[in-house]
């Protein structure tokens, strides 16, 4: 795994830097090996590479949305409603005469940003709670871990519905709700990592040099502990995007006229059999982006988890 101490053999010990340089050396070497591992993964697994390409393409679409969209995604033209795909409108027009391609392109922004912001929040709160639990141990550990048990008991979609009933349905509230159910698994990972790393030499060395706890955790522990959390994030992000889209579909996530993919499918549902393009293009976009993240996540995990790598 990426966070293994860089001293792997007597061979490596020969080239070890002087003790004073221990801290930097350790971390840098860890990063290098992790980058190398990821690269081997992509070279060996065409599916993982395909995932990376798909995700990169959607990030590109999200960034370039204003350039790629044919027209304002909210602009209506009731005289041309339900028009089939054509050269000027490759994805056709919806029931209010809005350009489906432009709406799908702007929808990429919403889905990519939703997925990334939820996992970012989950990593942030999960790392904070998990390292606090693992570092302090005892009462802290017990309380924080029982808290994660509590939140893991709620299926994300269901808690998100409850929160959207109590506050009001919106994209932000949906994302907050999904984040609330997502952070506990990251907290558990971060705790396990902290417990594994805390007894390492470089942590002891930093303590001996008189570094404060917070400084050790921030500068030495977290950078070495976080790699598995990123792998988990890559695996989770597809499911998060699906949940957010599902919430919007039943009306408890993003609200009209936001060009959110789940909402676009919902708006096209009554036209599915005759004007198939309204619901189908956003659905295919969801499928591709989620597939991309799933392929990417599988590929990264296979390489970083040696037990699974063996399975191939």
């Amino acid at each position: 795994m990426s966070h293994l101490p860089s001293v792997r053999s007597a061979e490596a010990l020969k080239d070890a830097p002087p003790p004073g340089a221990f801290l930097r050396w350790d971390r840098r070497a860890g990063e290098q090996s992790s980058a190398r591992l990821v690269w081997t993964a992509f070279r060996r697994s065409p599916l993982a590479l395909a995932g990376l390409v798909i995700v990169a393409a959607f990030v590109g679409i999200a960034v370039l949305a204003p350039v790629l969209a044919i027209q304002n995604p909210l602009a209506q033209d009731l005289n041309r409603r339900l028009l089939a795909p054509s050269e000027t409108h490759p994805f056709g027009l919806d029931s209010l005469g809005r350009d489906v391609l432009s709406r799908v392109v702007y929808g990429a922004r919403i889905s990519v940003v939703s997925g990334v912001s939820v996992v970012t929040a989950a990593i942030f709160f999960g790392t904070t709670a998990g390292t606090a639990a693992g570092w302090h141990g005892g009462w802290w550990d017990e309380a924080l871990m029982r808290l994660t048990d509590m939140f893991l008991a709620f299926p994300p979609l269901v808690l998100a519905m409850a929160i959207s009933a109590i506050l009001r349905p919106s994209l932000t509230n949906a994302l907050i709700a999904i984040a609330i159910t997502s952070w506990p698994s990251y907290a558990r990972l971060a705790r396990a990592q902290t417990l594994a790393i805390r007894p390492r030499n470089y942590i002891e060395a930093a303590k001996a040099q008189g570094a404060r706890d917070l400084a050790i955790v921030l500068r030495h522990l977290i950078p070495n502990a976080i790699a598995p959390l990123f792998v988990q994030a890559t695996l989770d992000i597809g499911g998060i995007i699906l949940t957010a889209a599902g919430l919007a579909f039943i009306g408890f996530g993003a609200q009209p006229p936001t060009p959110e993919w789940g909402l676009l499918v919902s708006e096209g549902r009554s036209f599915l059999m005759d004007q198939w393009w309204i619901a189908t293009f956003p659905a295919v976009a969801i499928l591709l982006l989620v597939l991309g993240f799933n392929l990417l996540g599988d590929g990264v995990r296979d390489v970083l988890d040696p037990r699974l790598r063996k399975v191939g």
């Binding site: 048990d149 709620f154 269901v158 959207s164 009933a165 889209a245 599902g246 579909f249 789940g262 969801i286």
Partner: protein, 337 residues
């Protein structure tokens, strides 16, 4: 640790988690901007009536005391009165839960019936075409938005081709069977009502297939992975060396051990199944707690929303407990870690 000790410890943890769930739903009730008294009595209720109602509902007591009242009511099975239909939420849930159990069970049967054989084929023919087909099928299952799949299948098979019935549990001309369990298929079977059984099964196919597809993906991937790992163990090589047929090696020696992780996935998939049930039931007009949840959120029926959230979270926790205990029973190593 004996199995019994493990069971007791694990059940204790689940009890604690359920206590935590009630705490979360209680906190959620108290961040509601709307005053429950106003929603019971209306905006123009006389002041003294409001004060009496506040007192009766315990809303003039400090928060910990209110939580105590809330817990005492929960223990008695009282989840409050639904604003939508003015009935106890617990009665509503009792009415709608059987349909969800029926749908979820059918979906799980579909997922296991397809997922396990697909996973076996995928592992046995690793890197050959059956493996590729099974893996693509599984990946699509975990990546496809099920609400679109549901709409598409309903559109093609019901609206266009008419080979399967539309939404609902039974056709409008079918007399429902005598209620025994509340699950239409089971009730029709118990009462020997073959017409209703046929109709109910036909109505069940689409929602069960849609809901089961996502789980199929998970189960296929897990079966494949663990079977591949088991197939390279020494005892499998021994069996092969002793001349056991490949079929015998896979089915009798390897599969039994490989299915352990699959049991966990089935349990973990339960949360996904409950979330998926919300979407599937909404689209298929399936009278279960998923659709009840959607309706109560749409109508801002807070007691109903919190009741259904609580019940789903409790079902989920108990399912996880069952999986952990089953796993510990199947694999004694787990009890010592």
């Amino acid at each position: 640790m004996t199995l019994l000790q493990y069971l007791v410890r694990r059940a204790g943890l689940t009890a604690f988690v359920i206590f935590g769930i009630t705490l979360v739903t209680f906190v959620l009730t108290h961040v509601v901007p709307a005053d429950p008294v106003v929603s019971y009595l209306g905006d123009h209720a006389p002041q003294d009536l409001v004060v009496t109602a506040r007192h009766q509902l315990g809303l003039d007591r400090p928060l910990p005391a209110q939580y105590g009242i809330y817990l005492r009511q929960l223990v008695r099975g009282n989840l409050g009165i639904s604003i939508m239909d003015n009935r106890p939420v617990s009665a509503d849930l009792r009415q709608y839960l059987p349909a969800t159990v029926e749908l979820a069970t059918a979906a799980m049967v579909v997922a296991i019936a397809i997922g396990v054989p697909a996973g076996i084929a995928s592992a046995v023919y690793k890197d050959a075409w059956p493996d590729h087909v099974a893996r693509i099928f599984a990946l699509a299952g975990t990546s496809l938005p099920i609400f679109y799949l549901a709409l598409l299948l309903l559109g093609v098979l019901y609206v266009r081709l008419g080979v399967l019935p539309g939404p609902g549990q039974l056709g409008i001309y079918t007399t429902p069977p005598q209620p025994v369990t509340g699950m239409v298929v089971v009730d029709a079977l118990l009462t020997g009502d073959w017409l209703a059984l046929r109709d109910a099964l036909q109505h069940l196919i689409l929602p069960a297939a849609v809901l089961g597809y996502y789980q199929t993906g998970l189960i296929t991937r897990m079966t494949r992975g663990s079977l591949l790992e088991v197939l390279r163990q020494d005892y499998v090589r021994t069996a092969r060396a002793k001349g056991v047929s490949e079929r015998g090696v896979v089915l009798r020696h390897a599969l039994r051990n490989a299915l352990l992780p699959t049991v966990t996935v089935v349990g973990l998939a339960f949360g996904g199944l409950l979330s998926g049930a919300v979407l599937t039931e909404t689209i298929f007009a399936w009278p279960g707690i998923g659709r009840y949840a959607t309706n109560s959120v749409t109508n801002v029926d807070i007691p109903a929303v919190l009741g259904v959230t609580l019940v789903i979270a409790v079902i989920y926790s108990v399912a996880n407990l069952a999986v952990d205990v089953l796993y510990a029973y199947l694999d004694p190593q787990i009890r010592y870690t």
